[in-house]
């Protein structure tokens, strides 16, 4: 059976070149970078080269990169560290309703510690309104954290503008760039970011490694205590194999970025258009053009996401959904609710995120099997039936 992986926003396969690099640092250059002997020096060299590569892909200086265990740790460092760094100036913080949980839950934690947080709403495409941000800023606002690209619906936020406002007001600005770094251009200076989170396993690197960019001059407290690694900002012996893998992945991403953006945008548009042509009563979630090249997020009315995923999986297609039935909490995706979808429509959402191994044939295959699956599930749905027997709007108005 054909296997089509369309869940690249969840994780990506490790690039073969990256595997080779990691292998070298597991078997040959396995020293501790803090040691002064040749073993240590070799590991140190790999570590610092990786730092350069990771920094280069975001227009930063290598000294501004702190390696972490991944995006979640970096987000927590930035949000919690950023809030406490400026605690004396105020306790008001701003973020959006559609952030990743690594950011949202860090803010929830801060609320319990006595901070006040404004969660900006978004429009129906998932965009933060810059006006809303301006209005939310107070004299005691010290930190703004907005994601670059949303992980579910792929919407790209007006980060440059938001960053310019933060800069003008002297407010710390953090950008969660986990879904954009290595996939679209990310430049910390253009974005006016003081801190920026990136992750390795979203760009064909290994899991368990990421980084936080911290602009030179910005100081945030560290909550891990131990050795002097990462300039004391993140003590503990460095995950050298992971970090060099991340570096290699960043290097490859830099080379392929432009070509992949074009290719994935074309594939994505073919997928979305193909679905629109073949399947009635759907909704494309997220902004049409201000959108991550490889992201397609579509709601199919009258059906539920988990049963859709199971059916696709049986055909070898891997995707994800914002349905309540697929979340551990049994709540529908907070992102889909924030863009104004009803529970029912959020229920039938399907996220397909494309990546470097996907081809035209993959898209053709999805377009071939998806309509049948949707039709089958709809034929089992009591909501769909209602609509067939009663053409009057009122009969199914409750599902809108």
């Amino acid at each position: 059976m054909r296997k089509v992986y369309l869940d690249h926003s969840a994780t990506t396969p490790v690039h073969p070149e990256v595997v080779k690099t990691i292998n070298h640092y597991l078997t040959e250059a396995w020293g501790n970078p803090s040691s002064i002997h040749s073993f240590g020096r070799e590991a140190r060299k790999g570590l610092e080269e990786a730092r350069e590569k990771v920094a280069a892909l975001m227009g930063a200086n290598p000294e501004e990169i702190v390696f972490t265990s991944g995006g979640t740790e970096a987000d927590n460092m930035a949000v919690i560290g950023g809030a406490y760094a400026r605690e004396k100036d105020g306790k008001h913080l701003i973020t959006s309703q559609i952030e990743h949980h690594a950011v949202l839950d860090a803010f929830k934690y801060l609320e319990k510690q006595g901070f006040e947080v404004t969660y900006l709403p978004v429009d129906e495409d998932g965009l933060v309104r810059v006006e809303d941000l301006r209005n939310a800023i107070r004299d005691d606002t010290t930190l703004i954290s907005i994601m670059h690209v949303n992980n579910e619906i792929g919407t790209i936020q007006p980060i440059e503008e938001i960053g310019a406002i933060a800069r003008e007001k002297g407010i710390l600005f953090h950008v969660d760039a986990v879904q954009s770094y290595g996939k679209i251009p990310v430049d910390v200076n253009k974005l006016n970011a003081d801190m920026l989170t990136a992750s390795s396993h979203k760009i064909y690197g290994p899991k368990g490694v990421g980084c936080l960019y911290i602009r030179k001059g910005v100081r945030i407290p560290s909550y891990t205590h131990g050795g002097g690694q990462e300039k004391k900002r993140r003590p503990g012996t460095e995950n050298v194999p992971g970090i060099v893998g991340f570096g290699k992945a960043a290097e490859i991403a830099a080379q392929e970025l432009e070509g992949e953006m074009k290719r994935l945008t074309a594939l994505r548009d073919k997928l979305i258009k193909g679905i629109e042509e073949r399947i009635p009563e759907i909704r494309v979630n997220g902004h049409r053009t201000k959108r991550l090249p490889g992201n397609a997020n579509i709601s199919f009315r009258y059906i539920e996401g988990e049963s859709l995923l199971l059916s696709l999986d049986m055909k070898g297609i891997a995707a994800s959904s914002g349905s309540a039935c697929t979340s551990g909490s049994l709540d529908p995706s907070h992102v889909l609710l924030a863009i104004g979808l009803s529970h029912e429509i959020a229920h039938g959402s399907l996220r397909m995120t494309l990546g470097r191994d996907n081809t035209e044939e993959d898209i053709d295959y999805v377009l071939e099997v998806l309509p049948e699956i949707v039709e089958r599930l709809r034929s089992m749905s009591p909501l769909y039936q209602r609509k067939e027997t009663c053409k009057q709007k009122e009969c199914y108005a409750h599902v809108q």
Partner: protein, 123 residues
């Protein structure tokens, strides 16, 4: 995460659809995740002679609906009333803990259909 039986009932659900002139109809919505299930029954001499369902929900919800219809077809309404979400889940070789609430839906919809039938009989 699902047992083979669940996947079987999900892939080949038994008794999907609706009945033209049902003797009882039961519809329930799931307060936990927002799913909806509808069960139609035909009853003759106290026995459920035919049963159909339609479900808007997850794999477990579809599988439990299918299973419940299979379990009660040909049974008396008294026997059908004794079916619980637990017995449905057991018949499917178990459900993941997070999916137990979906089996409530099936048992509830069935019981509602029977109640509906009884009400119609009484009137």
């Amino acid at each position: 995460m699902y047992s083979e039986k669940v996947m079987d009932h999900f892939t080949n659900p038994r008794n999907v659809g609706e009945l033209e002139n049902p003797d009882g109809v039961g519809e329930v919505g799931n307060p936990t995740c927002g799913d909806i299930m509808k069960i139609y029954i035909s009853v003759k001499d106290g026995i459920i002679t035919d049963i159909k369902f339609k479900t808007f929900g997850c794999g477990a919800a579809i599988a439990t609906s299918s299973m419940v219809t299979e379990m009660v077809k040909g049974k008396t309404i008294e026997e059908a009333m004794k079916i619980t979400n637990k017995s449905v889940a057991e018949a499917l070789d178990g459900l993941p803990p997070a999916k137990m609430h979906c089996s409530n839906l099936a048992a509830d919809a069935l019981h509602k259909a029977i109640e509906d039938y009884r009400k119609k009989q009484a009137s």
